[in-house]
């Protein structure tokens, strides 16, 4: 094993491979996914009732309503803009406050307000918005509300927002996707173009080719995972341990990718295998989506659990080495087994090339 040759091969892959579709896709996809999930579950998929208001007279009601955390309140400049938004479901209920509304309410006049309701809005959302508006009007009138509601929470489970539930999936994709696919496609393309034979007729050995391509996968996996963790809550209190775990995880992913690259005939078959394996690779993250429904031990049956769990434990729960030692050990053993398989594959390809 000559490290200088490995570095030459690695730099060659980095220079030419990084222009390829799979490389760019592997870098961009987890980041785009993280961003999309943030937008979708942060705002768009939120099930909060949506109220639109046109306020002709600077009503204090608007400020009060905007402070409510259980609904989304949007101000419109004109009635026509409000109606346009209502027609497409941009807001579910529209309120057109006339000038002098606050004064009329404070003077005790019986107030009738028109609520414009989007026909496809849920009855509960309509009711919640109407109640919130009515309650704020009561506050304006300073009328006493003698009946109080005491909310009691039962059970000991905590609410886990969807955005948080999806973090394991994004982290797992960032570690596995590029780490597996980039070395695999690179190997297959080199085999198909016969450049692999050309390289191995030089002093470079197949093991060195495997190592250079594997390093590419590890690099992509680690960088991608660190970027995703930065966007989703940080690296935790133990960045050195996290880095070590990501190195092992990236090595695991790259080893699977290299094995596929060495065995699979063409890109089409690789993509088909990757698609069909997806459910097993990402199963621990899907199980994490439904913690109340699927028991946690089921996730332990999948090898990628031992990639995901240590990373999440360190970055999200501040775990140290003793907490993740068993999972990390299992991951190292699995990676070692893959290394044995890689050794056989490299030998086989070396013989074929000769």
């Amino acid at each position: 094993m000559n490290l200088r040759r490995v570095s030459v091969l690695f730099l060659k892959d980095l220079r030419y491979g990084s222009r390829g579709f799979v490389f760019i896709f592997a870098v961009v996809m987890p980041l785009a996914l993280s961003l999309i999930i943030g937008i979708l579950f942060g705002t768009l998929f939120s099930e909060k009732p949506k109220l639109g208001i046109v306020d002709a007279g600077s009503s204090a009601l608007v400020v009060d309503l905007q402070a409510a955390d259980f609904m989304t309140v949007t101000r419109f400049e004109s009635s026509s803009a409000l109606m346009q938004s209502l027609e497409t479901g941009g807001v579910e209920v529209g309120l057109d406050l006339p000038a002098g509304f606050d004064r009329a309410v404070r003077e005790g006049a019986q107030t009738e307000l028109a609520l414009y309701v989007w026909g496809q809005s849920l009855v509960t959302n309509r009711a919640v918005i109407a109640a919130a508006v009515a309650e704020r009007i009561m506050d304006l009138t300073e009328r006493a509300m003698p009946i109080e509601v005491d909310t009691v929470l039962l059970g000991d489970t905590e609410a886990v927002p969807w955005q948080q539930r999806l973090i394991p999936l994004i982290v797992l994709i960032s570690v596995m996707f590029g780490g597996m696919l980039v070395p695999a496609t690179s190997m297959i393309e080199e085999r198909q173009r016969r450049t692999l034979v050309a390289v191995t007729t030089s002093p470079a050995t197949m093991a060195e080719v495997f190592l250079s391509k594997g390093l590419m996968g590890v690099l992509l996996s680690v960088v991608s995972a660190l970027a995703i963790l930065t966007l989703n809550g940080g690296w935790g209190h133990n960045p050195v341990l996290l880095f070590v775990v990501l190195l092992v995880s990236g090595t695991f992913a790259a080893s699977i990718g290299l094995l596929m690259g060495a065995r699979v005939k063409d890109i089409q078959t690789l993509f088909a295998i990757n698609k069909s394996m997806g459910i097993f690779i990402y199963a621990p993250a899907f199980i994490a989506l439904f913690p109340e429904t699927i028991p946690g031990w089921v996730a332990r049956l999948f090898p990628t659990y031992y990639v995901l769990q240590p990373v999440l434990s360190i970055s999200q729960q501040g775990a140290g080495l003793p907490d993740i030692a068993v999972d990390l050990l299992i991951l190292i053993v699995m990676t070692a087994v893959l290394f044995v398989g890689l050794g056989f594959s490299a030998q086989r390809l070396q013989v074929q090339a000769a």
């Binding site: 579709f21 799979v22 896709f25 939120s46 909060k48 949506k50 409510a68 259980f70 609904m71 938004s85 209502l86 497409t88 941009g90 807001v91 529209g94 309410v105 006049a109 019986q110 107030t111 009738e112 307000l113 028109a114 414009y116 309701v117 026909g119 496809q120 009855v123 509960t124 309509r126 009711a127 919640v128 109640a131 919130a132 508006v133 009515a134 309650e135 009007i137 009561m138 509300m145 003698p146 009946i147 109080e148 509601v149 005491d150 909310t151 009691v152 929470l153 039962l154 059970g155 489970t157 905590e158 609410a159 886990v160 927002p161 890109i267 089409q268 690789l270 993509f271 088909a272 069909s276």
Partner: protein, 356 residues
């Protein structure tokens, strides 16, 4: 154009298409998965707010009042049974109306109503229910004590009122699934054509009695048929061809024409499957933008109308979910036809120039 040659070319394309394991897998698995997802998702929307109530001495007027406020009531015999039902997520919330609380509400005097929620209920839901129930009980108290609250709402519905027949998530996703199936064909067919051109097969075919017109006609027929068949299978198995089947099938046919034209264009600028994938994913991202307007109402503005797929999503959504008929979708179908013919013509011209 010889019918026998055309048939042979189409069969050849079919064979080559399914020889690509990735697209063969994606085509079949995609169809099965979308059908399964549709069938697994709930068919109806549960929009009612059902509250569990333990109220040993509650007057009927209370229950009538709550029911009139869009709340359904499920009575419980004991406080313990009520709490157990909430912990098991059988109801969103439970109300305890003790004798003191009922008495306070009737007399308009300070009183407290206890509301149970599961500890993992989102904060927004807890706050929303708090506001809703606080207002409801104060409104009831004010009405019973003869001084109703000085505000009245009059509801004016914008668009068709879907109360009781809300569009379920699976119905909102259906146009998206149908169009994704169609759009995936851009990559499959594009890859097929690109591979044939790069391997020299297209040029080889042109030195046989096969004409350029025949070659492209066979590819167009194959592409349209494959896309149309998949989308029709999805709509048929999910039971969405029962109303306005002719209009829905026409929409799918025209949408297939559009995606086949796009596949020709992408094949013309691509050199390999990876290149087709890169362009195809870009096309897919753009074509799926109008879907947000259906799945997440209000998120897409008028500019989405410049994207051809808007007319696919909107037409299917109108016909399947909103009870639309020919008068509501005719314009969409004309736009789809024009776009389809233009894209197809552009694709054929570009491909032909490359081959000659």
């Amino acid at each position: 154009m010889n019918g026998r040659i055309l048939k042979t070319l189409i069969l050849k394309d079919l064979l080559l298409y399914f020889r690509n394991r990735f697209f063969a897998f994606v085509t079949l698995a995609g169809l099965i998965i979308y059908i399964a997802v549709y069938l697994v998702l709930p068919a109806t929307v549960d929009e009612a707010l059902t509250l569990a109530v333990y109220a040993p001495t509650v007057p009927d007027i209370f229950l009538d009042f709550l029911t009139n406020n869009d709340i359904e009531i499920a009575p419980f015999e004991t406080d313990e049974a009520l709490q157990a039902a909430i912990v098991q997520s059988a109801y969103q919330a439970g109300i305890v109306l003790t004798g003191d609380a009922v008495s306070g509400i009737i007399r308009g005097q300070p009183a407290t109503v206890t509301v149970y929620l599961r500890s993992d209920a989102p904060t927004e839901l807890v706050d929303a229910l708090h506001v809703l129930l606080r207002l409801a009980f104060n409104e009831l108290s004010a009405t019973l004590s003869g001084s109703p609250l000085p505000v009245q709402f009059s509801e004016q519905i914008v668009g068709p009122d879907m109360t009781g027949q809300q569009i379920s998530l699976r119905s909102r996703l259906l146009p998206l699934m149908a169009v994704i199936l169609l759009v995936m064909e851009i990559m499959g067919l594009g890859s097929l054509i690109s591979d044939e051109r790069e391997s020299g097969m297209l040029q080889a075919l042109l030195v046989t009695p096969v004409s350029t017109v025949g070659l492209f006609a066979a590819k167009a027929i194959f592409g349209i048929a494959l896309a149309f068949l998949q989308a029709t299978t999805l709509m048929g198995i999910t039971g969405n061809l029962r109303t306005e089947p002719v209009l829905i099938l026409t929409t799918l046919l025209l949408a297939s024409l559009v995606v086949t034209g796009l596949a020709f264009l992408i094949a013309a600028v691509s050199r390999s499957m990876m290149s087709v994938m890169a362009w195809g994913i870009l096309a897919m991202i753009i074509l799926l933008i109008p879907a947000y307007g259906v799945v997440l109402p209000g998120t897409v503005t008028g500019w989405a109308r410049v994207i051809p797929s808007f007319y696919m999503f909107d037409t299917i959504h109108q016909l399947v979910n909103l009870g639309g008929a020919s008068d509501t979708v005719t314009l969409n179908l004309i736009v789809l036809l024009v776009m389809g013919v233009l894209l197809m013509a552009a694709g054929v011209v570009v491909m032909k120039r490359q081959l000659t």
